[in-house]
Symmetry: C3
Subunit: 261 residues, 3 copies
């Protein structure tokens, strides 16, 4: 940090157990990955190679290495898992993950129908040798999951071995836990946090208003994902109360009188 | 490609005759052009120097050279052509194109009124020594072209020597072939594809939903343009069915039962 | 410039007295700053380190140096000033500015309530040794300043020693001088320009339509700010009439007949 200020919320150093930031890489070049790490590696815990971009990304091994040297874990977006599953190629998927030396793997059913028992089985199998993140929520805007079912899926997926569950939002932030205008589905979020351990959920929150919403609701050390590369530093300022949106959120009572009415 | 998967649509290698991707460069630096080519040159056929940015772009010759070494053709956005035409400087425009050694040239009337006979004459003249792309559609949101006129303009411009016709959308994607909310003008698109050869049209489609719309309608190898530099890799995954939006579009019948309802 | 064209509005060379462009840096890496300067330093007068990003930005001194070598002045976003003020740390703020060798400083009250007399006092004090920009307008969308008050604040802040006053819009462009849909509050803008010297105001205008609005209203050499790094070159084309939006704005009467109806 370039100077010190009182009343800032505490942030863990890496490797963090809570307050994780997951960035979405949609096809950065090698040098762009270096640039990113130079500016934001302290604030980034995980990088997801978004949807199927791993198929067409140049220098993928080298990119993974640069991220690794910056202590950032990488994994393939859940859509890649589904692309293999729908083709009946689960074994090939495992081999692919291993051939790139990835510790972490995402299991999702956002684009296709996977019976939940089968999804849990994938989680059980892969969590024996990998850190599994499993995602709940569909990418299709019309298809809704009832709240009770959503919470139950998260619970059973954690029990099956998932390290964290991800609440779906896509890159656009208008499906899953969000309404079509990008605002949070407050009832769903409320039910999730009443049942699931705070540190076990990573909320996809691509837009600033969504990031601010979760920081206000769950604190500086909420885990957030699908952050664009150039928004990671900004997100860190939101977490620390260094931006207008969260300016007053971590200040002591006696300073709140200076709030704009 | 980093691995193999069945049921992916075939994509030609460069130089492509169909399925072209045109990226819009609004003023990248030299090193950013290198970064872009490193990540996306396999998926990029053409780069347009957007509107009049060629006037103020540093190191333009060097940029053109980097693109050329990556087998990417470059040309000046149609607005630059119009900036010269409205000043009665057609000859100067030709000299400018030649001084930068550009094979390709765009002729448009998106910002100003050019009698169509005159536009056809420019196409005839320039197509003798250049690859001409001609654009149909206005940049002004209130000014509409009747569908029959639109199709007729495209037809006669191709007959006059245009290699491809471009359907206007701007960088913002809310004029020309799109309604003001960014959705496609389906009737207009339908009339165009019934008359004009599929491989002769390049559709400006800056937004993901627009790209997915044309891939669903016309297949993986539709030609699309005005793609932002950091969206070219993502577009390639859309073309290949490697993203949620087109996940089921290239799969065989027997796998479609796994679609989310 | 790569070629010449008649009827372009005149632009001063740096250091400019009017027609300034202020870019917002939200955490660029060192090499991204070099890339930016390579492409856009001729068109950039000032760089603001947005909100509290200066706290978490790596290599901040080196970044300031690169900008300085490109004749670009830098300063900390007003939110950083307010973060110190609300903690009663004005002296520490001054020391911070001096420790980074910054000539320029922003004083604002966009996130917190500062009695205007006190704000004027900060301006008086800091303007003795620094170039002060002071910002008027709140970041909170519901809190409005009456037009007369807004103009009066600008006037008194200039009298107190501010070099320029900034009209607030945030990075999103939907508060302060803009309505929630991003359109300009025309009445407020009108009242400001009737009273305050044109060259004393810098308008935050993050979106293209807002930039075009002010160029049409006040000419090519209006001072604009909160421009994203990759939009600075595009903004320069808007200023010069080299993009569709301002294509006709600087042409002589006799060429206007070619306007699209």
């Amino acid at each position: 940090m370039n100077f010190s200020l009182p009343y800032l919320p505490l942030r863990e150093a890496k490797p963090r157990k809570s307050g994780l930031t997951m960035m979405m890489d949609k096809g950065l070049s090698l040098r762009e990955v270096e640039n990113f790490c130079d500016a934001a590696s302290d604030f980034t815990d995980i990088v997801k190679f978004g949807f199927g971009t791993a198929f067409v990304t140049n220098n993928l091994k080298e990119k993974i290495n640069i991220y690794r040297q910056a202590n950032i874990r990488t994994y393939f977006g859940g859509t890649l898992f589904e692309l293999f599953i729908i083709r009946g190629m689960f074994d090939e998927f495992r081999k692919l993950v291993d051939s790139f030396g990835l510790e972490m793997v995402e299991i999702s059913d956002g684009s296709m129908n996977i019976p939940h028992k089968e999804k849990l089985e994938y989680i059980r199998t892969l969590s024996q040798q990998h850190i599994v993140v499993s995602e709940v929520g569909y990418k299709v805007s019309g298809v809704m999951i009832p709240t009770e079912k959503w919470v139950e899926m998260m619970q059973t997926e954690l029990e099956a071995g998932a390290w964290k569950v991800i609440a779906e939002a896509r890159e656009s932030g208008n499906v899953g836990i969000y309404n079509s205008d990008g605002s949070a589905n407050a009832e769903l979020v409320c039910d999730i946090i009443q049942t699931i351990d705070k540190d076990s959920v990573l909320w996809e929150a691509p837009n600033k208003s969504q990031q601010a919403y979760f920081i206000k609701l769950l604190g500086a050390n909420v885990s957030l994902g699908n952050i664009a590369p150039h928004e990671v530093v900004s997100l860190e300022t939101l977490r620390l109360g260094l931006r207008g949106d969260t300016f007053f959120d971590f200040l002591p009572e006696e300073l709140l009188s200076k709030k704009l009415k």
